[in-house]
């Protein structure tokens, strides 16, 4: 009896969604947008400097929402915005659970200054450029969208930063349908 009830519920649920999918297939067949994040940026070898190291990349957003989209990005987790480097990717990811938000990390090594991110070094509002532990706005459109999503990063290196390779940070992008 229970099996029959579960089966019936699944059947009804499936039928409803399937019917909706058939009727509104354009919506479901296409999630509304396709976002491609920028490729990994390598800042290369960095030495202590009063001038930040910078790198650029570009993702893309294609969507048909009449009201447009907003794209934000930030470093998630507790190490938000800081590059970390260590003895492997797992350490880098684990370090994100620590207390160095926004900083690049390599194992136990954490850069003193937070990574800064944005579409450019001085974007026009509502686009923003700032430390990676807070969400920065990379794109804001008001209609159907087919455009590149520029990605600019900036990292200051302090004299106290440990010399080692493998500093890394991951920026997570979020596309918001207006």
């Amino acid at each position: 009896m229970k099996v029959k009830a579960v089966g019936a519920v699944l059947l009804v649920l499936g039928a409803i969604v399937l019917a909706y999918w058939v009727v509104a297939s354009p919506v479901l067949a296409n999630p509304g947008f396709t976002f491609t994040p920028p490729d990994t940026i390598s800042l290369g070898n960095m030495k202590p400097s009063a001038t930040p190291y910078s790198g650029t990349g570009a993702g893309s957003l294609v969507g048909n929402n009449a009201n447009g989209y907003t794209v934000t990005g930030l470093a998630k987790g507790s190490n938000k915005g800081k590059m970390v480097a260590g003895d492997g990717l797992e350490d880098g990811l684990d370090a994100k659970e620590g207390s160095n938000k926004g900083k690049m990390v390599a194992g136990d090594n954490v850069l003193a200054n937070k990574l800064k991110i944005g579409p450019s070094a001085s974007p026009t509002p509502p686009l923003t450029f700032g430390e990676a532990d807070t969400a920065q706005t990379f794109l804001s459109t008001s209609g159907p969208t087919d455009t590149a999503v520029p990605f600019y990063v900036s990292q200051l290196v302090a004299s106290t930063d440990n010399v080692t390779s493998g500093y890394t940070i991951t920026i997570t992008f979020t596309v918001i349908t207006k």
């Binding site: 579960v6 089966g7 519920v9 940026i41 800042l43 990063v153 004299s159 493998g166």
Partner: protein, 161 residues
Amino acid sequence: MKKRILTLGVVLALVVVLVMPTAALAGNTTGVTATVVTGYEFTAPSAIALSSISPRILPHLANSTDGRLIGNAGVGYTVTGTDAKSDNKGKMTVGSNALGAKLKIGPASASNYADTVVSFYDQSGIVDTALSLYVGQVVGYSDNVTADYTITITFTAQPKS
């Protein structure tokens, strides 16, 4: 019958899962990577204008405090400064005119003639410090009256050996 209903329900549930938009599951992250290497950056103090200087016994004084040395070599660094030219070494010149007295320079006061190699920094360990240039120029009664006397101080920054 129960079996068929259950099977059909499972199949439909799978269809639902499979046809749902996958945007949320798509990759939306970008990595940034880098390597920190040993090195340093030296920024010389900006230019100093003594402006209009007239003959007097006491030197005309001025300074520039926006130099900077930043480096991560544990052995430390040295920074020296001098007038690197050969003719009228240490003297401000304009064309064929040279002031009679040599310019004095230093990191905290105008204490050494500019034709010598003057130490502006010499310490062990990593560094991130501001560096200043102080200058002092005595003007004699015999110095030609004209504009645009100039001298260039050449700094050399390097890790200690």
